[in-house]
């Protein structure tokens, strides 16, 4: 009896391994198992008509050793940003998009919209690093919080003077502290969004916010018309990033250890700072690129950079930004690029 059982198990395993090998070690969505992939949030694509359908927008994935991006979620979804909550083998992927906040708990096989009509468009999502029940989203009508994995949402705008919030992030040092990049200022809440206080950046139109990965008191914001503003004292005082144009900066990113920060925006090219955002140097003029919407720095190799552009897909550099090549998603507005398992 036992030998039959063992034989059955071995046979079953051999079938599984055989299937896995014959598929090139890929799952149903074409992802190679146990290997991270690049994910890109594509908001629009030139030529896309918003009321129809298009396979050129949505969530795209590219294997690390491949050059082809594949749309892995139903097309026709404006995708503003993405997120991953990971604990052990549990991986929940999030899409913040036109129809709301989507979550996949099965590696992208299926997705569920977590929000309803009250939240309208979801511009970004922040995930509590410990408690998977707690989610924050930025919307045109303020910050919404869920404490039950997205089943119910509460609007959290007490203390905010303006309601448009482009981005929300969680302080990596204190998960009760939340930052919201809003129309008039950068706001901070120290109580999970219950009460917000404006930090007084000094210029309006805060589009994005970055907290330094090593020094949590260093905060940077990208603004709509006034370049990058930097605070080295936890938001008490702010200064303009030196050497940069005073225009729109949409993207801020840090290398894993925080030695190098990157910034890009509207007709800015790509800038880097090696002193926590105080001074900046242009490393790629990128005259052919109208705007940089997103920046990715490889966590294992900080010389490997990928930028997402406005309507020109993604560009990639393997030498720290000295040379660049077009790397797919032609025509796409790429709002975020991540490396996810």
């Amino acid at each position: 009896m036992m030998s039959v059982t063992i034989t059955t198990i071995l046979l079953f395993l051999s079938v599984l391994v055989g299937d896995w090998l014959s598929s090139g070690g890929q799952d149903a969505k074409g992802q190679k198992k146990d290997q991270p992939s690049y994910y890109a949030a594509v908001f629009l694509n030139r030529g896309h008509v918003s009321v129809g359908a298009s396979s050129n927008i949505g969530l795209f994935r590219r294997e690390v050793d491949d050059t082809t991006w594949r749309n892995i979620y139903h097309p026709n979804l404006f995708t503003f940003s993405i997120g991953l909550w990971q604990h052990g083998l549990t991986r929940w992927y999030y899409i913040a998009g036109g129809n709301g906040l989507h979550r996949s708990t099965d590696g992208g096989e299926s997705w569920r919209v977590l929000t309803g009509w009250q939240t309208e468009e979801i511009l970004s999502v922040a995930l509590d690093p410990i408690d998977s029940s707690v989610l924050y989203v930025a919307t045109p009508f303020g910050v919404f919080r869920s404490t039950d994995r997205g089943n119910r949402w509460e609007k959290k705008i007490k203390g905010m003077k303006k309601w448009f919030v482009q981005r929300v992030i969680i302080d990596w040092r204190d998960r009760r502290t939340i930052y919201a990049a809003a129309e008039d200022d950068l706001y901070r809440s120290r109580d999970c969004g219950e009460q917000w206080v404006a930090l007084g950046v000094g210029v309006p139109g805060i589009l994005t916010v970055l907290q330094h990965p090593i020094n949590p008191s260093v905060l940077l914001v990208g603004t709509d018309n006034d370049g990058v503003r930097v605070s080295v004292d936890g938001g008490k005082t702010w200064k303009a990033g030196r050497g940069m144009p005073q225009t729109a900066f949409y993207a801020l990113r840090s290398s894993r250890e925080g030695q190098t920060l990157y910034a890009g925006g509207y007709k800015t090219g790509l800038w880097k700072s090696e002193d926590a955002g105080v001074t900046w140097l242009l490393i790629w003029a990128a005259p052919e690129v109208e705007a940089i919407f997103s920046i990715f720095v490889h966590p294992e190799d900080s010389r490997h950079l990928i930028v997402g552009t406005s309507g020109q897909g993604v560009y990639e550099s393997l030498d720290g930004g000295r040379s660049w090549k077009s790397a797919g998603l032609n025509g796409a507005h790429v709002k975020q690029i991540e490396l996810y398992p």
Partner: protein
């Protein structure tokens, strides 16, 4: 379900069509019944792919095989989808599923499982999307999350759609639509509302849909003149702005109001765009019947009247103090023309039409108006969440003309109006450095007369309608295809316009003489931005840009405007009760109790 029962009475429909064809036209204006059958007949002969065409072919019993091929293509073509798809697909299914092969029924069901029904980002998108989701969830209840494209169960989808539709109906019946009175987008509201009316099983939702259809038609009716949707509009396509009978709403007017008395799809002079998706056939196939009182309101132009309304600004997400501040509308309607206006400023992005005079004519382009062709990323960013430096380009990619200095639709923060009956003062205070620093006026070439008088007035005549137009500043004429473009490049600027007719003024000469007795006063205009004018009827108007409007010495308070106020429609803003009046008849829509009394 009228449509379903109509299907069962198909042979009778054929007889009716034949009857209509044989006797309707020869006996003069066809009845609604004849018009609707005629439309079904016409659309059922169309070859353009669409759910409405498919449905019409089945209802008329024409070309069924071809219709099935069309439907198969519609359900398998991944290049189409979204909110337009969702409500049309489920409407088609609910009408025809008894007659469709199982494979096609399954394909329609599968579309709601596998295709992303994008919700969109405008009011009309959401009405279409949630109507589709509501009816689909109602049709396939008790199905789990894996059976729906959005991972929500049937119950969850139904509750969400029901919640939003209830909210939309409440807002629309108390403070008005954001995309209000649109000759172009009327179809994107009335078609899903009629679909909801036809198929909602919940009697309360069905009643609400019926009341919303009444409200949409009544709102149209008071500003309707012989097929034209007159006055200021939240959104209008440029080709419809300069040729009102080209607008899709005109075909709905033909179907329900019987005006114009033309089969518009055959009238190439109006360059009709109604053909499009043939949405109007949904009205023709619906069991909804327009209350006669609305028909009378739409067509009785025996007496001139003033009608005012408030609507709401589309959702402002940034650069504003209020999410939905009021829009103030004014309309003066006569048998020959209508002069109507919004109070001005940015009330809508992209396609606002602030004011016009529209007159009855058998010629196209029967309208005169001015505008400042403003555009800015910031304006768009007030309403859309994308980066403002890209919005203008993105909008241009779809709507083609947004940044065009010659465009014929635009909101502008530098334009305001003050209307009293058949007179309007339009003022402009364009800041230096603004994009396209000029104002344009549309004057059709086919006017019977256009005369530049030594008094400074420009007089126009179109049949029995007379227009007097007084520019405050120098201008030039630019000849174009169908019109003369009146253009003035002065930044601080304005026009005064009076409209008359043979009924009011006798001859054109008499009109001119009455008008030239007066002249706008605007000394020191560049500093005080003030115009005073005594109309030919003796009313004294004084208007200062960004400040007060004064009529006969008394300030006009726009904030006093009711939701609807005129001889035919009355409602207080926020009340949810709309009263229709025609002679001794009254119909009351009470959205609070979901009741109709007549």
């Amino acid at each position: 379900m009228g449509l379903v029962s109509a299907m069962k009475r198909f042979p009778a429909i054929v007889c009716l069509i034949l009857f209509a064809a044989l006797f309707g036209v020869s006996r003069g204006q066809p009845s609604f019944e004849q018009r609707r059958l005629r439309l079904i007949d016409v659309v059922s002969g169309e070859r353009d792919r669409g759910f409405f065409t498919v449905t019409a072919k089945f209802v008329a019993g024409k070309d069924k095989e071809f219709a099935l091929q069309m439907l198969d293509s519609l359900t398998t073509d991944e290049s189409i989808g979204g909110m337009f798809y969702s409500y049309a697909a489920i409407g088609c299914y609910l009408t025809l599923h008894d007659q469709l092969p199982d494979s096609l029924n399954c394909k329609i069901r599968r579309a709601f499982r596998e295709r992303t029904m994008y919700r969109g980002d405008t009011e009309n998108h959401w009405v279409m999307y949630y109507t589709g989701i509501y009816l689909a969830a109602q049709t396939w209840p008790n199905e789990g999350r894996s059976q729906w494209f959005n991972g929500k169960s049937s119950e969850e989808n139904f509750m969400e759609a029901e919640g939003w539709l209830n909210q939309w109906i409440k807002v629309s019946s108390t403070i008005g639509q954001g995309e209000f009175d649109s000759p172009t987008y009327f179809i994107t509201f009335i078609t899903p509302v009629l679909t909801l009316y036809e198929f909602a099983r919940d009697p309360v939702m069905r009643k609400k849909a019926q009341m919303m259809a009444d409200l949409l038609f009544a709102d149209f009716a008071v500003e309707h003149l012989k097929g034209n949707y007159c006055g200021g509009h939240s959104r209008d396509y440029p080709e419809d702005v300069i040729n009102p009978l080209a607008a899709p709403a005109a075909l709905w007017a033909w179907l329900y109001f019987g005006e114009p008395k033309l089969e518009l799809w055959q009238e190439t002079r109006f360059r009709p765009r109604h053909r499009g998706g043939w949405e109007t056939v949904i009205g023709a196939m619906s069991s909804y019947r327009l209350p006669d009182i609305i028909y009378q309101i739409a067509t009785d132009r025996s007496k001139p009247y003033v009608h005012t309304e408030t609507k709401r600004v589309r959702n402002v997400i940034r650069f504003g103090l209020e999410k939905n501040s009021p829009v103030y509308k004014y309309m003066y309607m006569t048998p020959h023309y209508a002069l109507g206006s919004l109070h001005g400023g940015i009330l809508q992005p992209i396609q606002q039409h602030t004011w016009d005079v529209t007159y009855v004519s058998d010629k196209p382009n029967n309208t005169i108006f001015t505008l400042h062709p403003f555009y800015s990323g910031k304006e768009l960013a007030m309403f859309f969440p994308e980066e403002q430096k890209f919005l203008a380009d993105e909008v241009d990619r779809y709507h083609k003309v947004y940044t065009n200095p010659k465009k014929w639709n635009s909101s502008s923060p530098y334009e305001q109006t003050f209307q009293h009956k058949n007179t309007i003062i339009v003022l402009y205070d364009i800041v230096k450095g603004a994009m396209h620093p000029h104002i344009d006026g549309f004057f059709p070439k086919n006017l019977d007369e256009r005369i530049e008088d030594a008094s400074g007035w420009i007089f126009c005549r179109a049949g029995p309608t007379y227009v007097a137009f007084y520019p405050l500043k120098p201008y030039q004429w630019i000849e174009e295809d169908v019109n003369w473009r009146w253009r003035s490049k002065e930044l601080k600027n304005g026009v005064v316009l009076e409209v008359g007719s043979s009924d009011e003024d006798g001859s054109f000469e008499q009109f001119k003489q009455r008008v030239t007795r007066g002249k706008p006063e605007f000394q020191g205009f560049d500093k005080n931005l003030t115009v005073q004018y005594r109309t030919r009827s003796g009313d004294r108007m004084k208007f200062t840009f960004n400040r007060e409007r004064v009529l006969n010495g008394k300030p006009v308070k726009l904030t006093d405007y009711r939701f609807f106020n005129g001889p035919f429609l009355q409602s207080d803003r926020g009340s949810g009760v709309v009263k229709m009046t025609y002679r001794d008849r009254v119909r009351v829509l009470d959205f609070n109790t979901v009741t109709v009394k007549e």
